[in-house]
Amino acid sequence: MSIWKFLFNLDERRNWYLRKMPEGPLRSYYESSFPANDTDWRQVDYLALDFETTGLDKRKDEILSIGFAPIRGQSIRLSEADHFLARPVSAIPEASAVIHGILDDTASVARPLEEVLPRLLKALESKVLLAHHAAIEYEFLSCACKKIYGYPFIGPVVDTLALEVRIFRSMDKPIRSGDLRLDKARQRYNLPRYPAHNALIDAIAAGELFLAQGTYRRKRRPLQLKDMTVIT
């Protein structure tokens, strides 16, 4: 993360980018304001998001599929959920194909990333990005934006993995290996097991986990957005 993060808050940086950014999907995204930090967390709109990628290196690896589902009023809206593939420039490594099941054949008929990315940016407008281990989604998205639009992606982010760590700490519970994996975390909240993995069901799974975590977080005052986010 650059030093700017410590000097300016999100909205200041958003305005900074807006001053020089040309028209386009990313500019439209920046034109809508971010949800305020002190808003009651239940009043905020979120976008539960998951990517399948060719690997974990944001510079070398590519996004293969995108799944998302918005959360409004503590309710996941499946009618506004979406899922689409992006065509990678290079061949899909076997190691990742085993995990996400997306093969070259399937990916080759997909649209290139620059054609599908606007749909995601549109969905993210005025919402908080939400993911389990959100660094992956945030960094891949930011890298893709830099490549395609010349500017990075920024915005408020909720990471259900980080929230889970906070909940463990607040209860003074030791964290064991595997405790923070999405499936394991969901079990603690009596959430169903989803054997299949694709970007959409994983996004929904993260969204459900967030709803559950929200009902379990306790503070003296009503919870605000800033109690939930990792990037503000």
Partner: protein, 618 residues
């Protein structure tokens, strides 16, 4: 949109009523849902907004309470609530709380409306009248698939193909034979003033006319059989077959009200497949020792299994099984009389309880009593009737109808008494209702003559009815008694949920399912002064008399049929597994469909119990 929500689609497909939707509707449905999460002990929603959505529990558990905080239902994975409630008339206000952390899918009322519009099966689940859904379940459950059961489920009226061929008593033998030839029938009815006077068959013409070289110009009354036995047209076909087997006849006149509906012949019935019941019954009448009767009775469980496999209706199963009990009882009495000599005074052997109601299944105790003529002198006749009762009750016990644990049998001196004592019994029970007498009345108000004097039976039945009809105080006590057995609230996971939130491992299908309906029907039937004993008959009569609404009666009949049907299937399953039949069902053995309809049946019974308690408020 390449949207993959198979996880949710599959969950919907596995749960009622979504399992009723076709593939296309099912695949599209996940995208209409909203997903919510409720932490344990939080209220799900306000009462009014509950109706705006249909809620489906994906994980966790939810409790539903009335405005007075009485537990109405406990719901687990796959159960639905919300929407449907608002569509029901007189639905009590309620609110829901998460009992465990719960993930819940929500579908808007508009979406449910739209699905209902296009998918009838799905819409049934939300039908405004519980009874409609039950009826659907009953017909769904009892579709006749085998021709073998046709005799069992078909009323005789459906087998009558033509108007009865008849002739007046003034006709000659020649004219009668000529008409039979013209009409191509093997028998003819002799009708005088609209009443059945006699019957003439081919065999009569051969044996009584030709073989005797009788003058064919003599009146037909010379050779006809007077006052032949007959059956009503609403009896089942198998009953006609039993009747013929029992009386060794091949032609049976069928009556409709006061008149004649037609004639059934043995050939009409054998065109349909014969059932083993008929052979069992005729077998019983051929036996002259108890060991052999026992062998016949031992086949009853197999019979039940066969009928259950053929999805025979519970009503017809009850009639079939009871007809075998009747045959055994009758045969035992015949054998007893052969052994002990003719009875010194008139008596009547009366069946009580489920045998009286024609509602027996594979697991039945014996309930019976004996009413003896008032000329009975204990010193002179006591031993005879004591021996007779002992012979029959021991015989029934040997045949698998175990002794009544409450000693309600003719072997008990108390229940083997002359008419006047019985009249006193009833008078005392009715004028001084207390718990014990109410228990006895619920047994002895279900009475049916099996063997012996019709007049004695009529006298006691008339006496009892006369005392109860319109007797509000007694009826109030009876209704209090009828409300003592209550159906469960519903099911929760693999438990039966009973009032107050307690759990049971099993559902007592007899005491918490069938008995409450039987009790309700009895009270109303007594109030109406009806002589009917079979529960379905009683409900029919009381609906006609306006004691309860015809919808109420119909719903109760369907509830009884559905619960009894499940009991038969349950007992058949046990018998097939080599276990004794019982009345305890585990929720594990109930399908989603059956659970839902059982819940409907329970709610029918509960609401009719409420109506009864309002009517005879103590």
């Amino acid at each position: 949109m390449d949207i993959e929500l198979l996880e949710i689609r599959d969950f919907l497909a596995a749960n009622h009523p979504f399992d009723q939707l076709p593939e296309a509707a099912l695949s599209e449905l996940p995208t209409r849902l909203q997903v919510r999460y409720f932490r344990r002990d939080t209220v799900i929603s306000e009462t009014n907004s509950l109706d705006n959505y249909l809620y489906l529990i994906r994980t966790g558990a939810v409790e539903m309470f009335s405005a007075e905080n009485e537990l109405l239902a406990r719901l687990g994975e796959g159960d639905v609530f919300g929407y449907r409630a608002s569509r029901r008339p007189n639905q009590i206000e309620h609110h829901c709380t998460a009992l465990e952390d719960a993930l819940i899918y929500q579908l808007s009322a508009q979406d449910v409306d739209r699905l209902c519009e296009h998918h009838t099966q799905f819409a049934y689940f939300f039908g405004s009248v519980v009874g409609d859904r039950l009826r659907d379940a009953v017909s769904h459950a009892a579709q006749v698939t085998h021709s073998q059961v046709n005799l069992i489920t078909t009323p005789i009226s459906e087998l009558l193909k033509r108007e009865p061929v008849s002739i007046s008593p003034s006709a000659s033998i020649y004219e009668t034979a000529k008409k039979m030839a013209e009409e191509r029938v093997s028998s003819i009815l002799v009708i005088a003033k609209g009443q059945l006077a006699g019957i003439v068959t081919d065999r009569d013409l051969r044996n009584r006319v030709v073989a005797e070289a009788l003058d064919v110009n003599l009146p037909i009354t010379e050779i006809m059989t007077f006052n032949p036995t007959s059956l009503k047209e609403d009896a089942f076909a198998f009953q006609a077959q039993l009747h013929m087997a029992r009386h060794n006849i091949h032609h049976l006149p069928i009556t409709r009200g006061e008149g004649i509906a037609g004639m059934i012949t043995a050939t009409d019935l054998t065109k349909h497949q014969t059932t083993s019941v008929v052979y069992m019954v005729s077998d019983i009448f051929k036996q002259d020792n108890i060991q052999h009767m026992r062998e016949v009775a031992d086949k009853i469980p197999d019979l039940l299994v066969n009928m259950a496999a053929a999805e025979a209706s519970a009503d017809s199963v009850g009639h079939v099984i009871t007809s075998i009990t009747d045959a055994i009882t009758t045969r035992l009495l015949q054998l007893a009389e052969e052994r002990l000599g003719a009875p010194p005074v008139r008596y009547v052997w009366v069946a009580a309880g489920s045998q009286a109601r024609n509602e027996q299944t594979a697991k039945s105790d014996q309930d019976n009593c004996m009413i003896i003529d008032d000329t009975y002198d204990p010193k002179l006749h006591g031993d005879y009737f004591k021996e007779l009762a002992k012979f029959v009750c021991d015989g029934l016990n040997a045949c698998g109808y175990v002794y009544c644990p409450g000693e309600m049998m003719a072997t008990n001196d108390k229940w083997r008494q002359p008419l006047r004592v019985w009249k006193e019994y009833f008078s005392n029970w009715i004028t001084q209702p207390e718990p014990m007498s109410l228990m006895l009345t619920s047994v002895f108000f279900d009475m049916r003559r099996v063997y012996g004097s019709r007049n004695l039976f009529r006298d006691i039945a008339d006496h009892a009815l006369e005392m109860t009809r319109g007797n509000r105080i007694f009826l109030a006590f009876m209704s209090g008694n009828a409300l003592s057995h209550q159906p469960p609230i519903g099911f929760f996971r693999n438990f039966v949920l009973i009032k107050g939130g307690e759990h049971n491992q099993t559902f007592d299908v007899k005491h918490n399912g069938i008995v409450p309906i039987v009790d309700l029907a009895r009270v109303y039937s007594l109030a109406a002064g009806s002589k009917s004993v079979n529960t379905l008959d009683r409900l029919e009569v009381v609906a006609e008399g306006g004691e309860i609404t015809s919808e109420g009666a119909r719903d109760l009949k369907d509830a009884l049929e559905f619960i009894s049907y499940l009991r038969i299937q349950h007992q058949a399953r046990l018998i097939k597994a080599g276990q004794p039949a019982d009345n305890f069902m585990s929720p594990d053995h109930l399908s989603h469909f059956e659970r839902n309809h059982l819940k409907d049946a329970f709610s029918v019974v509960r609401s009719m119990q409420n109506v009864l308690s309002q009517r005879y408020k103590m």
